[in-house]
């Protein structure tokens, strides 16, 4: 390669990515930095935002038990949602994978399609199904004899977890599905020919191999659930706040932007730590799978 061509190939990628890079620095990195700075500003009912550097908002979040409770609720809901999607989504992906061609692609479409349908519409569906004490879900559960008296779903954490799990389920199925594609069906047959029963095969052969898929699905579901807005806002109502809905209230109702920015910054920092940390753990534990 001549010197000129070499120099061109050094400069070309930067010339091609420069517009996008400038866009991202200008309207993504700078706004994010401004938000972090905003969390250190002062705010008063009458004076508005004052551009000073104080720890007032962070101090308030650290000391007021209201925020501890709210963050604990946010992460509790996210953890329960993650568990529910893993417990139901992983077996479903396994069953799907064993179906024959045409049914497989049909049901894959039915289960993954909702991913692209408006979250507002899907959550509205749950609000209709839950709907008070004589909602469809309660009627069904009582007629099946699962329970005697109706339990409230709207404006409760139970309802939020169910609706969120429904919204996040496609991510889990997709992730386990991807792991199953790497699995060699011959190993299952080999185990069977050596006399292993179905339970042993699932526990000793399938589970260890799809675990990385379950875990990476769990990371996606957890981080999306912890920062979810539409579902908690509609199912949880105005009283049951999570981090995203609280930040929304601070910004658009109370107008205490610095406090809202501190809540958002904390949420972002916590999620980045959790996601990066657990990714590293998974990759170390299952190094052979990712190689």
């Amino acid at each position: 390669m001549s010197a000129v061509a070499e120099e061109r190939s050094l400069r070309a990628p930067w010339a091609l990515t420069a517009p996008a890079l400038m866009l991202f620095v200008g309207v993504l990195l700078i706004p994010l930095a401004m938000t972090v700075m905003l969390s250190f500003h002062d705010w008063g009912q009458y004076k508005g935002i004052e551009p000073v550097f104080i720890l007032k908002n962070w101090h308030e979040i650290a000391t007021d038990p209201y925020y501890a409770e709210m963050f604990w609720r946010t992460f509790r809901i996210a953890i329960l949602t993650t568990l529910l999607t893993a417990l139901l989504g992983a077996p479903e992906a396994y069953i799907l994978n064993r179906m024959s061609g045409r049914w497989k692609s049909f049901f894959l479409l039915v289960i993954l399609g909702p991913l692209l349908i408006s979250v507002v519409a899907r959550t509205l569906g749950w609000a209709l199904l839950f709907g008070g004490n004589n909602g469809l879900v309660n009627k069904l559960l009582m007629s099946l004899g699962v329970m005697r008296s109706p339990i409230p779903f709207m404006f409760t954490e139970t309802g939020m977890v169910i609706a969120l799990a429904h919204v996040m389920m496609p991510f889990m199925v997709l992730s386990v599905w991807a792991a199953l594609q790497r699995l060699d069906p011959q190993i299952e047959n080999a185990a069977m020919s050596l006399g292993a029963g179905p339970a042993t095969i699932i526990r000793r052969i399938i589970m260890p191999q799809i675990m990385p898929g379950v875990l990476s699905g769990a990371i996606i579901v957890f981080s999306l659930s912890a920062s979810a807005f539409a579902t908690p806002a509609i199912i949880g109502g105005r009283r049951l706040k999570v981090a995203a809905t609280l930040a929304y209230d601070e910004f658009l109702n109370t107008l205490n932007w610095p406090l809202g920015a501190a809540v958002a910054t904390l949420l972002l920092a916590a999620l980045v730590l959790i996601v990066v940390g657990s990714n590293a753990l998974i990759e170390r534990r299952y190094a052979e799978v990712f190689r």
Partner: protein, 268 residues
């Protein structure tokens, strides 16, 4: 491979019913002839679809969403196509970091992005404007546009380009006559997926929209906050129908499994 047992099939049936139920119930309630929320028991009626016409704010919000989705996906592609070509073809210092930066809007919670953009555009004097919405949506749909274009550019056969170069084509002609047509299916699918993402976004947009620039999801959300009635279900049914159409087109054009496989990687 062994078949699924009866227990597995029962589990599967319940799973699928639960996945479909909320979407189905919205569409069914939308056809109720009653003035309140009920499953249509005495006949179907288009009453609540006609009622939408009396709510110009929903119609206006629909056009805002449509324009916003179409424009922001297009602008995102203008930035994403060259970037995708660079990332697909060159090994250069900072390549991985750039790719991570360009995909980062998938990792950052939309509530944080909404706050950051609200702060940024308000201090830039663009608060609540359509221009601010476009720029913000370009950022959130960029990863989807980039990803599908990147897949097309990586899998592309370079020999056709070499032939064109040997015949004297260069620069813009090469791109317009050879490269672009070859990656076009990826580019169009990237546009469609980006459009759906923009069309459906609530969490970020709810921070930026002002009366006049409210998108359909924002309008629906604000309406649901006050009360839930059959009107909002008929609007939702229309939204679901639009998304389904786009979905089927995407499936025909590109294969839905490939599109969604890209989406499943968001957390990585």
């Amino acid at each position: 491979m062994r078949r699924n047992g009866p227990l597995a099939l029962i589990f599967h049936a319940i799973f699928v019913i639960v996945m479909v139920a909320p979407i189905l119930v919205v569409c069914l309630v939308a056809f109720t002839p009653e003035g309140f929320l009920s499953l249509p028991t005495n006949g179907f009626s288009l009453r609540w679809f006609r009622t939408i016409a009396n709510y110009p704010e929903f119609i206006h919000a629909f056009w805002v969403s449509l324009g916003l989705g179409a424009l922001s996906s297009l602008v995102a592609l203008v930035f994403a196509v060259p970037a995708a070509l660079a990332i697909a073809r060159y090994r250069f210092r900072g390549r991985d970091a750039l790719a991570a930066l360009f995909l980062s809007p998938l990792m950052i919670p939309h509530v944080v992005l909404g706050i950051a953009f609200l702060r940024f555009f308000t201090s830039a004097g663009l608060g609540g404007s359509f221009a601010a919405l476009i720029i913000a949506h370009v950022i959130i749909v960029f990863p989807f546009a980039l990803r599908l274009t990147l897949a097309a550019a990586t899998g592309m056969d370079r020999s056709v380009e070499m032939a064109a170069v040997s015949l004297g084509a260069g620069g813009w002609t090469l791109f317009r006559r050879v490269t672009l047509p070859l990656i076009l299916p990826g580019v169009i699918s990237g546009w469609a997926l980006a459009f759906i993402q923009s069309f459906d976004d609530l969490t970020m947009t709810v921070f930026l929209a002002a009366p006049g620039t409210e998108t359909l999801p924002v309008r629906m959300f604000l309406y649901i906050q006050d009360n839930i009635d059959p009107l909002v279900t008929s609007v939702s049914a229309c939204v679901i129908a639009i998304t389904m159409t786009a979905l089927i087109l995407l499936d025909r054009f590109y294969g839905l499994d490939r599109v969604l496989a890209g989406k499943g990687d968001t957390g990585r």
